[in-house]
Amino acid sequence: MRNVSERTASAALGPAVTETVVVVPDTPRRSRWPRLVSLALVVIGAALVLSFPFVAPNPYILSAGVVILNYAVLSTGWNFMGGFTGYISLGHAAYFGLGAYGTGLIVKYLQLPGFVAWVLAALLVVAVSIPVGIAALRVRGASFVIVSIAFVLILLLVFQSWREFTGGSEGLIVPRPFPDLMRPEHHRVFFYLFAALLAAALVAWWIIDRSKFGTALKSIREDEDKARSLGVPTTRFKLIAYVLSALVTALGGGLYALWFGDLDPIFQFSILVGSYMVLMALLGGVRHLFGPLLGALVVGIALEYFKLEFGDTQFHLVAAGLLLGVVVLFMPDGVIPAVRALIDRFRPQQTSIRDVTAAELLEQNRAAATSEPRAGASSDHRAGAAPDPHADADNREVVR
């Protein structure tokens, strides 16, 4: 939005006034979206989620709700790495599967209670993710994507082939943690467990997002070498983000195992599930706390719908692929920024000059010019920048 107005300004008025116009955006970005509105939306959203089990018409819809919350947990978990650092892992289903199988196998072989197994499995996954992270994070970009895919495929083969231990393709039955509960009740309990896990993940993401650590992670996403030259210990920070991401994803997987009760390597270590996590996060917006959750809602509902309508066909995959294409082409930053931009169009524009008449602008420029000398040191740079061939670069995006 801001860019557009600046561009219009320079086109109409030439470079001489550009500096004055560019100075305008001094309202803090965050205040454009008042805190109260955000808080209200969060409260409403939470209320909607918590009331869902009571309004769900049948157990099937309720179980679909559990699936969607599970996806939201996984995608938010993915976003600890993908969103903050920009390292796109397409193989994050590896941690979903390890969390699930870890929980199931501990219950089966050590006879421990389900939720103890869940926590133990998550800790085991953390232990696994450290060496894997150290190895995988040595490479960037497309190479990292390939490594992440390779990792999940290796696990798929191992869990399929190691029949005596994992049950192979016959699957692994995980005993239910609440054997006395009827099916709808079981869904309801797990709906709230997933909601609690999601809430915890969101809070953790939010804390990091606001922290110095989060700023450092985001600088890695923007330009890793530059971040490093400013003293950011990138290797360590990326690893911490990776392990946190694996932990949240594994917790989601473990809870899934306890809920669904039947594990199959082909689904647990599926590139498809990993791709869904990425698609959901991208759709909602990886830079936003609720981006993955929103994406999980949209994609999750769409997937359930297509599976219901077109049953045996693979049409839901085509639909998911199309959706990914649309998002990447038209909303590269996701739905949340797109919607915000749309809403901002209907608000009074503090930073726009479009509703300023030419006469008013002239007056403003005159005022700015007379106040310039008082600005002292900074004015000679600003005045000096006008005849500069680069001066109109203010209106260009300097793409790196």
């Binding site: 560019v22 922290s211 600088s219 990138t234 290797t235 900074s378 740079h381 790196r400």
Partner: protein
């Protein structure tokens, strides 16, 4: 020997026999250089003489094949660039690099000085840090752009932003790779003034620059590179007369 004892110059940054090859090309060739602490040091040389590679080897962006780098008596050879930065050496890049999709303020809050758990979980909105950031933004003269996204700044403004970002790391030594590259004369003057002021406040500078006017007026000590190694060093006025330097530049 003792009659002509070498002037004891405090060495801020010192390399011994530093070497880096890319395939068959030796970009830095057994370069032994000492930069003077507390001064504005210039590093000049024809295109392709290995200045930027030398910079990158010193700051840990690339690993040298052989030789050593010491900073204030501590060996920092092959230290990763973040460790070099936290040891007190800040640097800018030849093609200025900022974080395009972060605001100017966020750009400044990136620098990490002490990576402890306590400082890391602290809110990035920490008022003390913000005040420091505003201080440096005022110093470089872009405080009015605090909330603008860095990608919307002009190239000159981005150069100033990069410098402010480096200063946030509180370095003792600042290495600038072509600070005058691609900016207009007024801004070059502004950057030169800043360097002089910061030098008065105790910062050591090492500057790679092609703009001879800037080098000669700004630097106290100049090292000339040719084919990956220093061929001359001394005061700017002496350097200008040195036949080896003229040869390297003019190819006589």
């Amino acid at each position: 020997m003792s009659a002509q004892a070498p002037v004891a110059v405090a060495s801020s940054l010192e390399t011994v026999e530093l070497t880096k090859s890319f395939g068959g090309v030796t970009a830095v060739d057994h370069a032994s250089v000492r930069f003077v602490d507390g001064k504005v040091n210039g590093l000049i040389g024809p295109n392709g003489s290995g200045k930027t590679t030398f910079f990158n080897c010193v700051t840990g962006m690339i690993k040298p094949d052989a030789g050593s780098v010491a900073y204030r008596g501590n060996d920092i050879t092959r230290h990763a660039s973040d460790r070099v930065a936290r040891a007190g050496i800040g640097r800018s890049f030849q093609l200025c690099r900022v974080f395009p999709r972060m605001t100017v303020m966020e750009n400044l809050l990136v620098a990490v000085r002490h990576p402890s758990l306590r400082t890391l979980l602290r809110s990035a909105d920490d008022e003390h840090e913000r005040e420091r950031a505003r201080h440096w933004l005022r110093r470089v003269g872009i405080d009015h752009l605090e909330q603008a996204e860095a990608r919307n700044l002009s190239y000159g403004q981005q150069k100033l932003l990069e410098l402010a970002g480096v200063l946030m790391g509180d370095p003792d030594t600042i290495m600038l790779d072509e600070p005058a590259g691609g900016v207009n004369p007024a801004l070059i003057g502004r950057i030169a003034t800043l360097v002089r002021e910061l030098n008065d406040e105790g910062k050591t500078f090492i500057i790679v620059e092609h703009n001879m006017e800037m080098v000669m007026s700004l630097c106290d000590h100049v090292v000339v590179f040719d084919r990956g190694r220093p061929i001359a060093e001394g005061a700017p006025s002496d350097i200008q007369k040195d036949p080896r330097v003229l040869e390297a530049y003019l190819g006589v």
